[in-house]
């Protein structure tokens, strides 16, 4: 995983395939709770699936600080 674009691609792919969202509903500023209506179990689910794809495992405090899709990309980019 090198570029932020690729990370965003993986993230939106997971959200489409595993969570059933429409492909055009994602931007970097899309809010996980307000826009996508994810709850705490969904957030863990997302973290587990992203770990399987990227090898990056989030810590709890990191996961709790995430608000937008851009935050997720930043986190994976920073760790990868």
């Amino acid at each position: 995983m090198t570029s932020r674009d690729q990370i965003f691609q993986v993230l939106t792919d997971v959200l489409q395939k595993e969570f059933g969202f429409e492909p055009d509903s994602f931007r970097l500023e899309t809010h996980l709770v307000d826009d996508l209506d994810l709850d705490s179990i969904d957030a863990i689910d997302l973290a587990v699936r992203l770990e399987e794809r990227t090898g990056v495992s989030f810590r709890d405090e990191e996961l709790k600080a995430i608000r937008t899709l851009g935050d997720v990309v930043d986190l994976i980019d920073g760790r990868g």
Partner: protein, 315 residues
Amino acid sequence: MPPWGRIAERGSIWGIRFTSACYRVLGRRATLPLVYAVVTYFFLTDASGRRASLAYLRRVHATAEGRLAIPRPPGLRESYRHYRTFALAIVDRLAIWFGRSDQFEFESHGLDYVDGLAEQGRGALLLGAHLGSFDALRLLARRAGRAVNVLMFTANAEHINRVLREFAPEIEERMISVDPSSVQSVFTIRERLRRGEHVAILADRIEIGDRNRGLRVPFLGGRVELPQAPILLAGLLGCPLVSIFALREGPGRYRVHLDLLAERVQLPRADRTAAVAELLTSYARRLEHHCLASPYQWFNFFDYWGDAEPSAGEV
């Protein structure tokens, strides 16, 4: 839960210390009458525990299958038998932890299948209950050379590990304290499942410290609240879900029953609660089946249905 119910119960350090000291100093033969005496004392003095026991036995008796095990309407005699069966379970637990665990014999149904999954790196989440002996399951796993991880939704796990190390350093089992809202807990458990270990949890009570809500499902003619957390975890892990109960068949003899509840737990986002309820209902159905077959081995001596005065239609 009355205080006596916590004797030798995990979490009660004093209970473990006291009863294990008796067991090690006096042996099984002298410990059993002692535990009978303690249980009898509580039977005589603790009205709420006695009422809970009777309410449960009546629910068993209210079913055709239950009347095979409890033919006449339950009264004090049946309730006392219930208490004495608990004493036997406590002494067996001591024997398993501290004594001659090689004297136990097991028969099992379904274990090969679950172990087969584990060998493919698909350890299962095992849902047990306060029915029969959870410790017998640990012993069985130990003999099979498998580690058992016992999950608890409390911060008590490390405390109990310390006491176990103090009294029975050879016990390899691990208690893991989990928080279902923690992604790190999920990763920890997933690691163990992938190593081919099973992870067990008691799913018939909502533990103090479990912040997830419960769901009410049918059980023995009423509805009881069971914890969502174990099912949510299984969904996050995408692992097999298995109910597991070890029931005492005679001195030193246990029969272990495993039933597959789901080969791979999947909880659709849109109907997650319905999917959890469905799996909890299957679990409760298995639990009920074994309660009816071995009614006296049920060790929840509190108002389990949350209706100390059950409505006429339910009993």
